[in-house]
Amino acid sequence: MNWHTLLFYLFALMSCGFAIAVVASSNVVRMAFFLIVSLASTAGLFFLAGAHFVGAMQIMIYVGGTLVLLIFGVMLTAHAAFVSMVTKSSDWVLAAVFGGALLGLLALTAFSVEDWRVARGDQAAVTSSEGEFASSIGQALMGMRVDRLSEGNSQLEAGMSGYLLPFEIIAIHLLVVLIGAAYLARTKRRVGSVTEGVQ
């Protein structure tokens, strides 16, 4: 067996298995831990595909973001040790309906793509593109699609402008959120310190 296939199955199995474990577990902190493993396995899939930058992003943003979830989990349950969450049966039904609908939709879409249903013939010719991937992502964010430069079809040239506008919108949005969060945190403390001073 090819090592690539073996590792793909390993990571895919870990990713799915621990995702199920997140749902099945009733302890918040254990859930967060299972979520970390599941997301890290997904990062492993990206590394396997040669997309080092996307994999590292997955670790930085998703796995690192779980940290905050974990902290909240600890803070919310710290008043009594190891609180277990009981899910109501009505919630189970609701979650099953929505989750099942989404899963069905995704599966249907995935299987409707013609190219994905049959294995490609020239598998020996496929090489992993561990090349200059991060720089082309960066250039696309700055407004030029290097991979589209050789595009002959003038209809598709519209996509060559890259993602500068969405990138800027997201950047400004995050800045506003950051300032808002800092403002909220500050005002609350100032009121508290004033009342303490009066007392």
Partner: protein, 425 residues
């Protein structure tokens, strides 16, 4: 390497999984050795240095002179200790937490190059990652999970306090750390650690530390933030033994406790080696001994092939290990000199000092680089940095057919690269 092993086992299948597994195991064993032997030496060093600073001798007996086997004796003691899980603890997470910390520290070593390999292709790393700096920082940030889980799962208030402090501290210090690391990345124009290291070859004046006054300042900010992010005194609030007994590892004993320490010393060495690559020229010594030797002997082809290139690689490994150990020594020295900060002082240090200084240095370095102002880096440049960064285009030029080469050769950039590649080195 996997192909080499498979050529003995499965000559017809060069990428059979057994060969790849054996290759991976060899790499894993070597990295674990770097961490474990490193911890062995650093713990002994910590005891000796702290002893000297406190005007005593430190360990003197075990292993004859200087007590150099003291850590081994400590390790034997730890193995012999009883492995206790408190009744209050969440035993699954409690047992897992130290391994999680260690795994994060270990995984970051995968992308750390120890020498450039002295060829156009790859560095001496377990796996050369195209975005190495980013990968190392992302993975190293996961070490805090082990600490928080340990704090939570111990079922003890001391541990919980320690874990939550660590979380607040690490989340804060990732911001200035990232800002500091961006500056060498910006100067190099690459996130590949091998490329960043190679760009600083030649005399020690070519190190990014001497690129401009701002990079010189930002190194100290980086070192402070690195110390905080690996949870090292004076930022070791997670263990703060004067107030929290022992913080997150209060309930741990024996081998599990020592695994936390292996992870800590591993990360200490890792951030020091990263500092060496980003600011101190990595595997390049202060004087280019091998390049001078090769040009004196008239071996123009030495960087790509040959025994001298290999010996130069080994010297590079010695260089980076030395620089990393110096970094760890400074951390030990700081730990036994400065008193521990309070939690509010730690956070103030991060947001009111480290972040603004790093941001100003970033703007300053950008200004310096953009206007190409003279500083120590321009004193004796080994070769143009663009040439190191764009080596892939040299490779592609070599792979192209003669007619295509002629076409590409029209552009100025390609000409420049050809001239430079043919010229110095």
């Amino acid at each position: 390497m996997a192909e080499f092993i498979n050529s003995f086992l499965f000559p017809d299948q060069p990428d059979h999984w057994i060969g790849v597994l054996i290759t991976a195991l060899i790499h894993v064993v070597m990295i674990i050795n770097v961490i474990a032997v490193g911890a062995l030496v650093f713990i002994w060093m910590e005891r000796k240095v702290s002893g000297r600073i406190q005007d005593r001798l430190g360990p003197t007996r075990v292993g004859g002179k200087f007590g150099w086997l003291q850590t081994l004796a400590d390790g034997l003691k730890l193995v012999a200790k009883e492995d206790i899980t408190p009744g209050q603890a969440d035993s699954f997470l409690f047992k897992l937490a130290p391994y999680l910390s260690f795994t994060a520290s270990f995984c970051a070593f995968i992308a750390l190059p120890f020498a450039s390999g002295y060829s156009w292709s790859s560095g001496w790393a377990a796996r050369e990652v195209n975005t190495g700096v980013f990968f190392v920082l992302a993975v190293l940030g996961l070490e805090v999970f082990g600490v928080i889980l340990a704090g939570y799962a111990s079922g003890s208030k001391w541990s919980l306090f320690g874990g939550m402090r660590e979380a607040a501290q690490v989340v804060s210090y990732e911001v200035p750390l990232g800002l500091c690391v961006i500056i060498p990345v910006m100067l190099a124009g690459s996130m590949n650690l091998v490329t960043i290291g190679d760009m600083q070859e030649g005399l020690f004046t070519n190190w990014f530390l001497f690129h401009d006054p701002f990079t010189f300042c930002v190194f100290w900010v980086y070192f402070t933030c690195a110390m905080a992010s690996v949870n090292r005194a004076p930022f070791d609030l997670a263990e703060a033994e004067s107030e929290l007994v022992a913080g997150f590892h209060t309930e741990y004993s024996g081998l599990r406790w020592s695994i936390f320490f292996m992870a800590e010393y591993g990360s200490m060495f890792l951030v020091s080696a990263l500092a060496a690559i980003l600011f101190f020229g990595g595997w390049n010594g202060p004087f280019p001994v091998f390049a001078t030797l090769a040009s004196a002997l008239g071996w123009e082809a030495w960087p790509t092939t040959g025994l001298l290139g290999y010996v130069a690689g080994l010297a590079g490994v010695a260089n980076i290990l030395f620089k990393g150990v110096v970094g760890v020594t400074v951390m030990i020295w700081v730990r036994w000199t400065l008193p521990r900060l309070r939690i509010d002082q730690v956070i103030t240090m991060c947001w009111k000092y480290c972040v603004p200084i790093a941001a100003v240095c970033f703007a300053g370095a950008l200004f310096w680089q953009y206007n190409n102002i003279w500083f120590l880096n321009s004193l004796h440049p080994a070769r143009s940095r663009a040439e190191v960064r764009e080596n892939w285009s040299v490779n592609e030029l070599q792979l192209l057919t003669p007619s295509a080469l002629h076409e590409v050769g029209e552009s100025d950039m390609a000409k420049g690269i050809e001239n430079e590649a043919g010229g110095q080195i």
